[in-house]
């Protein structure tokens, strides 16, 4: 393998020769014959794989021993990139279906790249971050497709946000303790990142982002929690709950296109706004504050991808479980009531509308232990 081969990958296309050579030094080649388990769910993850040529299956295990196939991927795909940003264990297994080869980029090598202030390093870091945002959009679109035609539920209704609150609402010492600022160098850098930014306080149930529109900003949740949902015909699927130190509005600010999700305050919430133009400036900024912000944005997008996996897994488990004879009648009756396993959309200001999410029956008459594949 030569550095020139790296340029053939969409992820690294258009990079200059010196950048590619530096990048090549940070990466290791891999080969996986057909049948090889390249990444195993539950094992600690510390590197991203970039497929130059091959065919792989991405799957995860469900309770009861069944396997859920998430995707099949081919040449140019990236795998395991969440582990560059997040600690923790692999959330899926990747198996080579055909002979596969490519490169890996480890977390430590990626950390070197992120610490590099040269423009080329910033471009590469950003492209890797963009793969995570693209994955988040794909997850949301998959969930939306399960609910029905997303165009039917898109709305152009503008959200009316409460007026900005005055200084004093944002205590930089408190902010510095939040998860998203853990890579910042103390309160001063955090203060620089949030200086002059608009803060707003939402009440429980207040809408923040309308599905199908572009968010007005990337919002940092400083206190409280925002619920990110896919709404369809009055029903909704929760994609994520974003508490303190998490962002809302990745899709439509960190990438182009309308937001496939809606967002509303689940608790009384204090937000700090990063307008799209500021976000783009920070992503291109070579100084430490910009690079730390970029890492915080993409790291949180990676966390959002992980959270967005849960609704699919839970629904898939419910779908596959077969009612035992003893409970079949009750299950069928319940299924009629709970079509779509979804949240109700309407609410009052003070109280969120209750409804059933999922009902399933497991038992000796339930689905067997073999994979459906």
């Amino acid at each position: 393998m030569t550095p020139a081969r790296l340029c053939e990958l969409p992820l690294f296309a258009d990079l200059d020769e010196e950048t590619v050579e530096n990048l090549f030094d940070l990466m290791l080649p891999f080969r996986a014959p057909a049948g090889t388990v390249l990444l195993a769910e539950g094992e600690p993850g510390d590197r991203m794989h970039i497929v130059r040529e091959g065919h792989l299956r991405v799957s995860r295990r469900l309770p009861g021993g069944e396997t859920l196939t998430i995707a099949e991927v081919h040449d140019g795909a990236t795998l395991g990139e969440l582990s560059l940003f997040l600690d923790g264990r692999r959330t899926a297994t990747v198996t080579a279906l055909g002979d596969t080869h490519g490169w890996t980029l480890g977390r430590h090598a990626f950390a070197l790249l992120r610490a590099d202030s040269r423009p080329a390093a910033i471009v590469v870091s950003r492209r890797i971050g963009e793969t995570i945002v693209a994955r988040l959009r794909a997850r949301c679109e998959t969930l939306a497709a399960r609910l029905g035609d997303p165009s039917e539920s898109s709305s152009t209704a503008e959200v009316e946000l409460p007026p900005p609150i005055t200084d004093g609402a944002i205590d930089s010492e408190y902010l510095a303790s939040l998860l998203c600022f853990r890579r910042f160098e103390g309160c001063v850098q955090v203060r620089n990142a949030v200086a002059g930014r608009v803060a707003r306080e939402l009440q429980r149930g207040d809408e923040l982002i309308t599905q199908g529109t572009s968010p007005a900003a990337l919002y940092l949740v400083a206190r409280g929690a925002v619920e990110v949902r896919i709404v369809h015909h009055g029903a909704a699927e929760r994609v994520r709950l974003a508490g303190p130190g998490r962002f809302v509005g990745h899709l439509g600010v960190l990438d182009e296109g309308p937001s496939p999700v809606a967002a509303r305050a689940r608790e009384r919430t204090l937000l700090i706004e990063f307008p799209p133009a500021d976000v783009q400036r920070l992503l291109a900024e070579p100084r430490a504050t910009g690079r730390c912000c970029a890492t915080a944005f993409y790291e949180d997008a990676a966390r959002a991808v992980r959270q967005a996996d849960w609704p699919t897994a839970r629904n898939e488990m419910a779908k596959r479980a077969t009612p035992s004879d003893a409970n079949r009648a009750e299950h069928q009756q319940s299924s009629k009531k709970n079509r779509g396993h979804a949240f109700a959309g309407s609410r009052t200001h003070a109280q969120m509308t209750p409804l059933k999410l999922i009902k399933t029956t497991i038992g000796s008459g339930a689905a067997g232990g073999t994979s459906s594949e």
Binding site: E41, G42, E43, R60, R61, L62, P63, G64, G65, R89, S177, L178, L179, V221, R223, G224, A225, R238, L241, G243, P244, G245, R266, E267, R268, T269, W310, P311, R314, M317, A318, A321, P323, S324, D325, A326, N327, E330, H331, S334, R347, Q351, M352, T353, P354, L355, K356, L357, I358, K359, T360, T361, I362, G363, S364, G365, A366, A367, G368, G369
Partner: protein, 303 residues
Amino acid sequence: MGYLGQPTLVDDLLYGRDGSLIRQAVSAEQMKLLNLGGFGLAAWSRDTPDSDRPFTYRTPAVPTFDRNLRALARKVAASALIAHVRGVLYDEREQVGAQNLHPFMFDGATIALAQNGDLYDFSRMRFSLLKHVRPELAGLIEGTTDTEWVYALVLSMLEDPFGRVDAQDAVIAVERALERLRELREAHGIAVQSPINLVISDGRWLVATRFAYDYGWYPDDDSFFAAEREHDYTTLWYTTSRCDRTATNGWGAGHRPTGSLLVASEPLTKNPAGWLEAPEYSMLVATAGTGHGVTVELRELAL
């Protein structure tokens, strides 16, 4: 943790995995605090006399070193179980003792309850709660925990606190109790994050909540939640896999379903594959069927 389903050796449930509940007393994977405030269990066994009543075991000692518990667990099977390791602040003002051990179950009641949570500033609302708890139940409270009061409040929401109830009645009672607590917190101006993950059972059904009041509003004193922010909404996980005693990985390793549900504050295996995280603001309701099946319902707690 809670279990409902096929009769299973208590040893498998408490010890049989590399992240088992007993290990979690001293080395939990996600929650980094030590849980040194004691251990308790209530377990129902179909083949014992008076099978509607659970057998219970409580010790204020750390269960890791308890030979009696291990010996008992190796001999007894349960079709339903609630078990709890108690975590307390590292503070001499904490009350560690038999009267504060979960799960709570009053004499004559049919329901047991354990909690993974902490109602912030509970002492300020304790006596306001009294008027919502039936006098005959208030008189049975022996300890100092918020959980025992929550237990009494849930029972007070039932038509007959000492009678048999079905899962649906229990769900309504829990929802009403949570709503009442919200009102009382508001009345006292308490607006700090307070998780309240309950596990409740009568041996035939099991209800588990993943809920928090005022999520995202941390206390200013940098206590309790500060070290947990990666998992700052107290977690609840569940699986339906069975334990194959020949497997190294036990629950979650991907064996045949047996019609059983296991819930825990974190997966009982270090490898979490095969476990699902319950969503925030939700309630799992499991009911044992007339056969061997268990019906599991996941509801939103839209309070």
